[in-house]
Subunit: 430 residues, 2 copies
């Protein structure tokens, strides 16, 4: 097919007419499809159902140190859970604290704690005139909402397939003491599915921050969430890299089993240096008597070890892979060569990132909604919900059934085409 | 037996000699007993074991609105959990939010939120020069640690069998805008087991705080935790009372199933006015994607309804009652008439409060420890760990087995006698 940009005004009008016709046809079907959030589909949840049976009325519910998991006690996680999530995070069990059901909650608490109590003895952020966070964009909307909620100024850092623009990161982190953190999803990033390169991780590890309380928020949400057995991304382990670089305290590494077992009923963890973990513990010890140890035990008895986790993730991959491929194939087939959009081809994670022509994303998402397909809000992948180019759209292919997804992907590309033609006609007039 | 105060110096010395002998005998046994924390005993945990089986690999894990509890979604609790904990809290389901595993965590978050974001649009407390909390004493150490952790000034309010000294509460709340809250355990209070009288609750409901963001932290931890079927305390429902008094927003009511099902693996909740709940939700919506809905479902399917909860609590009572009675009988028998201590006779909850002669509590707890009995630290029931009279000791009879408890109680009274005699001899000399 001819590139839209090379079409004459008449050709564009004809194309528009045909697309409009298709759109009205689809709209008339009154569909209700959802590609908005990184939610596992029902068949993915089904593969964890045996987890419901590993703890039963006759089971011994003591952890390996003999502590009764049914009672109070053990603030920072039972040893076997530390070992399991330590292995998943590529750190030693004593480098990790096990939390409740949500790593987002742990990140929120980490920012909240920094606001009221400061980081490792430094001035609480609420006492400072200005606190800034670096936000690789596009990125995860829920990260940005946390920093926005606490009135932290967010600075956009462009993402590349190798990770954030590290020249810009170094410049800002090393010269501005108000810069206290950076949000990272380093592996199968949200939304692009990029994995930070070895050089990027090393440059992170060797940062010399102007602020002693600067921390990298390393949200390793998709560490074992591969789509392929033979085509996996590799991420350098950040804690070890920072320690080697003489920077052991610069990073917090977050993880959870939300997209391994059950979202909302998984277990979360943070890995960090001893000094940082003790800082976390000082807060935790006042905040709670302890997290849900039965759920920790349930996870360990079900997954057993890292091999068990990997085996389980292969089952997820078998369900997710065809969905990713269907969306990418549809994008390739329908939009390839038109030069009205670009999209990523992740090897893992939960998202595909789509960049439309400038100024089209909001209109595309609105069109899709009109046709019954809910996408993540345009702009959501940027701090304050403001995508300066209005071009990024996050595609979450996991939740719909394959049949629904096929429909949704077709509607999406139709909307992209239609909005792009309209945009080009506008520009043409001007 | 003769009152210690009426003994001559010689009689006291003889008594001391005999008590010392008994103490050495006990000490030689090298016991290790724990009356320090309000932990259910193993046989209490056993009565909830069938909860492990209600969700199983073949179960339908959707809540009554059809939402799959295994997936993300439903920020503030599934409807049936709201109904169950609403009934437990004597409020409507729409007056309650279901949280994670710990009501202490909810209280902590509530203070943290007030620090950084203020209460219902009022100035964040971290921007104020001074924030004060009223602390009925003796009270719950973990409450006091939260306010201490956030640098909030704590003011002692004497407790009576009818509740806190309300003249003092009214005086402070109604005249000092820096007073932002009060910690209350209104039913079977920690540590006395007192229940606030109807007049006390009404006076709370009719407070006219100087601060618009003053809130009553009503920790109804022991609402259904009776020891007797026929001798139960009655507490006026505070939300209704406040609403009637034209003060709907003045109170947060916290509860949890920690001592109903499994401590650390229960579900927690807050009940409050719509305005307050919306204030909570604004924070929650950034803090987490949602709490553990499977555990909510597990609780509902196990307990079913309020009758189920009450029936279950009777089983707890059957195990706890003999322990309370054993301790109180030991105190009565061994210390009755000596006028060296006073103790409470709760109808529910988890604690007995003991007041020694002034200046003896620390020494008694230290003596008990020397003989192998761990008590809650003396002073712990007061803000900053400072009991001005050094006389209050919290007794937690739940955790030891009946046999251990019998030993522990005997050792405790022995230590009370010994320290009291020593104190009287000191005074005698001076």
């Amino acid at each position: 097919m001819k590139k839209y940009r090379e079409m004459t005004r008449e050709e564009l009008l004809l194309e528009k007419q045909e697309l409009e016709r298709q759109f009205q046809e689809v709209k008339a079907q009154g569909l209700s499809l959802d590609m908005s959030r990184g939610k596992p589909a029902m068949d993915q949840l089904d593969i964890s159902m045996e987890m419901m049976d590993v703890l039963h009325a006759g089971a011994d519910l003591r952890c390996e140190t003999g502590v009764d998991c049914r009672n109070y006690g053990v603030l920072d996680g039972i040893p076997e859970a530390k070992r399991l999530l330590g292995a998943m995070s590529e750190v030693e069990p004593d480098q990790i604290i096990i939390y409740g059901n949500s790593s987002l909650n742990v990140m929120f608490d980490t920012v909240a704690r920094s606001m009221t109590h400061g980081v490792c003895g430094n001035t609480p952020w609420c006492k400072l005139d200005k606190v800034k966070f670096l936000c690789p964009v596009p990125g995860y909307d829920r990260h940005f909402r946390i920093t926005e909620f606490f009135g932290i100024e967010m600075i956009n850092i462009p993402m590349t397939p190798e990770g954030p623009d590290m020249d810009m990161v170094e410049e800002l982190v090393q010269n501005d003491p108000a810069v206290k953190g950076i949000w990272c999803v380093p592996k199968y990033s949200n939304p692009q599915g990029y994995t930070y390169s070895e050089e990027t991780v090393e440059r992170f590890a060797h940062l010399k921050p102007a602020a002693p309380d600067f921390r990298i928020y390393w949200d390793n949400a998709y560490s074992i969430h591969h789509l392929y057995d033979d085509n996996q991304d590799f991420l350098v382990e950040i804690l070890g890299a920072c320690e080697k670089a003489g920077n052991p305290d610069i990073v917090y590494k977050f993880t959870s089993t939300s997209k391994v077992s059950f979202p909302g009923s998984g277990i979360a963890a943070v890995a960090a240096s001893e000094a940082n973990l003790n800082d976390f513990r000082k807060y935790m010890t006042v905040q709670t008597i302890g997290h849900d140890k039965l759920n920790q035990l349930r996870h360990v008895r079900f997954f057993k070890d890292l091999d068990g986790l990997h085996e389980h993730m292969r089952k997820h991959a078998a369900l997710l892979r065809p969905k990713f491929e269907m969306v990418i194939n549809t994008l390739d087939r329908e939009l390839g060569g038109l030069e009205i959009g670009e999209w990523t081809r992740p090897h893992g994670g939960y998202f595909i990132s789509f960049d439309s022509m400038e100024g089209c994303a909001k209109a595309i998402v609105a069109k899709a909604k009109e046709a019954g397909v809910v996408m993540t809000g345009a702009g959501a992948t940027y701090p304050y919900g403001k995508d300066p180019k209005d071009s990024n759209i996050r595609i979450a292919p996991s939740y719909p059934t394959p049949e629904e997804l096929e429909q949704a992907a077709k509607i999406f590309v139709l909307c992209v085409k239609l909005v792009s033609v309209e945009k080009l006609l506008e520009t043409n007039i001007a």
